[in-house]
Amino acid sequence: MTHPDSDVGEFAVATHGLSKRYGRKLALDEVELRVPEGSVYVLVGVNGAGKSTLFKTLMNLERPDTGAAEVFGLDTGGSGPEVRAQIGYVPERQEAPYRYMSCARLLRHAAAFYPAWDHAYADHLARALGVPPEQRVGGLSKGETRRLQLVMALAHRPALLLFDEPMDGLDPLVRRRALALLAEHLADAPTTVVISTHHVQELESLADHVGVLRGGRLVAQMSRDDLQRTVRTYELEAPEGWEVPKDLHATALRRSSTGRDMRCTLVGEERDITGRLLAAGARVRGSSTLALEDAALAFLPEEPS
């Protein structure tokens, strides 16, 4: 498990030095994304970190300034249509095309573009997610539009799903049902998923890879097992006035009123960290793993409040 490259073999998605600038803002900065085939890869980052730009570049809806992106070994710039045929994309923006069509008609229309479209499966998904078949697309609520997009993305069983905030606008019950459908979908056919969300805890049990984007840079990327092994909360006993060594980059630091008890999140192999803390004069009373979301937050600097 420590060598994600060796046991998965191929990458479904890979970017090489991918950069994109909007005016003065660097939206993507030398991004080296590696999504192993068959993984559920969660992209974490605050608004404006570059997640949506990254998705659009993979869909060839945006051209990178420098660098390249590959999907199943195909260059997204040179083979846009071939690449898109293998992708089920749910964009962040809530606009559905063909507003005058009924939902049922739009699904039949979409089916014509995908040889692999599974009509029975599309019906099953639409019913399970409560997509109103006779309703016009233009009259759908935000949540209903989202559900329709999910049906369209899944019904042709693409090898790659690109989900940009897919649960946005869905109520908690539908969110849970959508995630259960996704879990079943993954059991039925080998599928790679790249998914961005503001609710990482919802994907706690589905994700097996994590990437953290900060200001356009991919600051962390690893398997979920590696993330949870190397990002830990340490309980420390230290002399009064003791400080965590700067080079350990502690986050989520808390200390008791006496200053003798401390708790902080540190990134690194547990034995190495424990040794360095001991050498610096603090005793580790224990350490524990964090929830996926909290572990990912260790790579985002704390905003001064």
Partner: protein, 127 residues
Amino acid sequence: MLVTLDPRDERPLYLQIVDQVRRALLVGTLRAEDPLPSVRELAGELVINPRTVSQAYGELEKEGVIYVRRGQGTFVSPTIHPDRQERRAIVRGVAERALLEARRNGLGVEELVTMIEEVAAEDRGAA
């Protein structure tokens, strides 16, 4: 058998599933030749990655607890003896969790064992 996962449990999810199957065997809610839910069913029900379920089932198969009947699904082994290996595995898990909790509270092993016996004696007295 109903599988429930505890988000506060630090052990990997697949091990939690393995333990729940063991527990079900021990308690008797799961018996020899009973069918287990399919990977798809359990993944959808628990909203977890199907790979995690496969990993758990793989582990149980390796231990001889369950077996796969081609095209029919996964079943509990006909020769299962939950009283031996399963019991041991479960006791071990409980002990590990108790020890971890004790260590976190700055307690030693002897203190913990003594107190477990004390509390158990009180329970017996009360019953």
